[in-house]
Symmetry: C2
């Protein structure tokens, strides 16, 4: 786990002035990575690092030859159309590049005048997936979500006996993951009408979002090898926001006995910026089990996980209906939660995933599962917020929602904040539901 | 669906004499594709086509410039280290290349003398995965398997109500798929002892194989689009054998509510050769539902599926224990079945997978699910053959098996045979279970 160093110094300011504003997601203490091309261009995508409202084009930084040594090698791996090669280099390379860019972006850096040539506005960028995602695995780490959803699907048996022992997960679909702002059509599917015994085919009428954290694997492990819990975080490049769009009616009919399939694999939205674990070092929190719960099995237990295994990423879901957009009303916040409530940490997910020798590869994505908090208003899905569609959510204009309607836009945001540290943001993962394609 | 043409002519013989032997898997009527390098070399892999006991190195064929037109373009796409580019070209390109190679390999072809330079023994090749597999989806198309396994996991509720309506599937792990002859270590996992309430961690004691057919997607569909059932097979490049190794004890504890995960993702073995749908044209069979079962919903129903949707691939599982290997005893056949028994066809799988707009990509792999036939001795897994481990299988030397022991080698074979057609084989998918890594 990363120690605090001068890149986290709250007093640090950048010569990029927009980075120094108080409520900005991308201060010089953050420096998250993405892949982009100029909006509307057919350019080859390349890596970028965010700074305030701007970003550094890492291909241009590379051409400027302002970095030396291992940071320069790491930088070169960010000039292609995915970050997989950079991710595969491991924590030393990620840290070397972040530290070097931190030095170059500080107020007074002699590199400032040269680097201005690599700076562009984020508003002028079109983001693409930051990595080629070979495999995507979705966990289920919020016990509050598992209990609430379990109650709807299995009223007599909400939390299954394995939950407190196994970091439950399933494989998701990698091909349909898109970066923020890619809209998608409401899925068609087989749906069992209430009280019916034969399914009908039609557009999902219970389309939902799921508020999740995405975890990008950096260095992988070879097939047949395990990842000790003490070293799990060395395999993690960084975190993003993830919306695991879910069609609840399709899910209810299809999911037994092998789990969700078409209810989930039509679209998954992630935020473009990956915030590194190093940038998140000031926001680590102790992790523990509620009194009376079983302690993790030895392969999932380590002092450093108990001491600092949690990450206090504050999370928010906002909804903007078509009517709100027409009136230029901003998205309305409908739920807030935090990743600190997760029953299993990032390290648990990585170590469990590889305990049987399964190989994780650079660029693989893990989803945290819906991050619902302990309070009902902290629920990370409409399924929970509306009690399975029975209690509509009332929006400020009086409009009501049980599930998402066409034209609804869902915006996930995340950030870290605490006394004595500069706020670190994740940007957003947003997308709009389009009508089903007939 | 492919019509019969002169490439299927049973009278056709090759100047490669080993291809003309009666019980050979790779007559000139077959011509399956694989990717290989010379055994023990560090060469870049490239495509190959099997002919008898030999194979054509497609990079050398390309350099010889014996093909022209669209066949030459298709050939060029087979010279890289995966077949994804060739698969993406679509059915016209696959057929053009197969027909051109069929012409060149016939007895009397003027290309014979030049092509000898491209010929090598299969025994001298080391096979690699034929494609980069972006996503792997495993179906559950044998109702006999679903019922038998359902009875073990849920005695009161063996076949779930969705089975006859939904081609049930789940996403599998792409990174741990390996080609035949890659051995793997018995997986460790969480296991709930019989009668216990707390899991223990240890090597799986109920390691099993699953006899499946693998289906390689050729041309994909864009995200948000569907694949009409009438056109589903145009997206299918070909078939292989697939062993979905399964740790039953890990599976029983982890699989609810989101499906199998670590019980399956430690290893999947496929045969190196992909047999094209065109080569399988003589072995298509009608597909229908048992009387009284619901007919497929309209999006899954088409006259050509009913007329020729099935494929009569005969399947076989053989087991060779360490003791048998020491005595040079060949693998002993423990079950036989056929893909013709599948409750859902290849076309159903493809169309259902994309019905919600999910994008299939060239090189994606679908598993058929365990292909158990209607008779008990046609079961495609030890779980079924041994009634959940209660009735050991007795081998010819008196050795007994409920589940696999270390050193056991499982060999899957497949072939098509009928009067008036030349036998088409799939080769084999084989691997040996190694002791768990401690």
């Amino acid at each position: 786990m990363y120690a605090l160093d001068d890149t986290h110094d709250p007093a640090l300011e950048s010569w990029v002035e927009s980075a120094n504003r108080p409520c900005n997601d991308f201060p010089i203490q953050n420096l998250p990575f993405a892949v982009f091309r100029r909006a509307g261009s057919a350019e080859a995508p390349r890596g970028a690092v965010a700074i305030g409202e701007q970003m550094l084009d890492l291909r241009v930084v590379h051409e400027l030859r302002v970095l030396r040594g291992s940071a320069a090698d790491a930088l070169e791996a960010c000039t292609g159309s995915t970050l997989n090669a950079f991710m595969a280099m491991g924590a030393g390379a990620w840290s070397a590049l972040r530290k070097a860019l931190s030095a170059c972006l500080r107020r007074g850096s002699p590199a400032a005048s040269a680097l201005r040539a690599a700076l562009l506005d984020q508003a002028d960028a079109e983001f693409v997936l930051p990595a080629y995602i070979g495999d995507y695995t979705d966990f289920y780490t919020s016990i509050h979500h598992a209990t609430a959803v379990g109650r709807l699907f299995r009223p007599d048996n909400p939390l299954l006996p394995n939950y407190k022992w196994v970091p439950v997960a399933y494989h998701g679909r990698a091909s349909s993951i898109r970066v923020s702002e890619h809209s998608f059509a409401r899925p068609m599917g087989q749906i069992l009408p209430a009280g019916g015994v034969e399914p009908v085919v039609g557009p999902s009428a219970r389309l939902d979002y799921e508020l999740e954290v995405g975890i990008f694997i950096g260095a992988g492990n070879a097939l047949g090898t395990r990842v000790p819990i003490e070293r799990a975080e060395e395999h993690v490049f960084g975190l993003c926001l993830l919306n695991d769009w879910s069609a609840r009616d399709i899910q209810a009919w299809e999911y037994q006995p092998l789990g969700p399939f078409l209810a989930k694999n039509f679209a998954t939205t992630i935020s473009p910026w990956i915030v590194t674990l190093e940038a998140l070092a000031p926001f680590r929190v102790p992790w523990s089990r509620p009194a009376g719960d079983p302690q993790p099995l030895p392969y999932l237990d380590a002092p450093q996980v108990r001491a600092r295994g949690g990450i206090d990423v504050q999370l928010e879901v906002a909804l903007q209906t078509q009517a709100m957009r027409a009136r230029h009303d901003p998205p309305h916040t409908i739920a807030r939660s935090s990743f600190r409530h997760a029953y299993w940490t990032v390290a648990h997910m990585v170590t469990h995933h590889a305990m049987n020798g399964c190989n994780l590869e650079p660029g693989d994505l893990l989803g945290s599962g819906t991050q619902s908090g302990p309070a009902p208003e902290e629920a990370g899905s409409l399924l929970e917020l509306t009690a399975g569609g029975r209690q509509p959510l009332v929006l400020p204009d009086g409009d009501r929602r049980t599930f998402l309607l066409d034209g609804d836009r869902v915006v996930l945001r995340g950030w870290c904040e605490r006394d004595g540290a500069v706020r670190i943001g994740f940007g957003k993962a947003a997308a709009t539901v389009l009508p089903a394609a007939r």
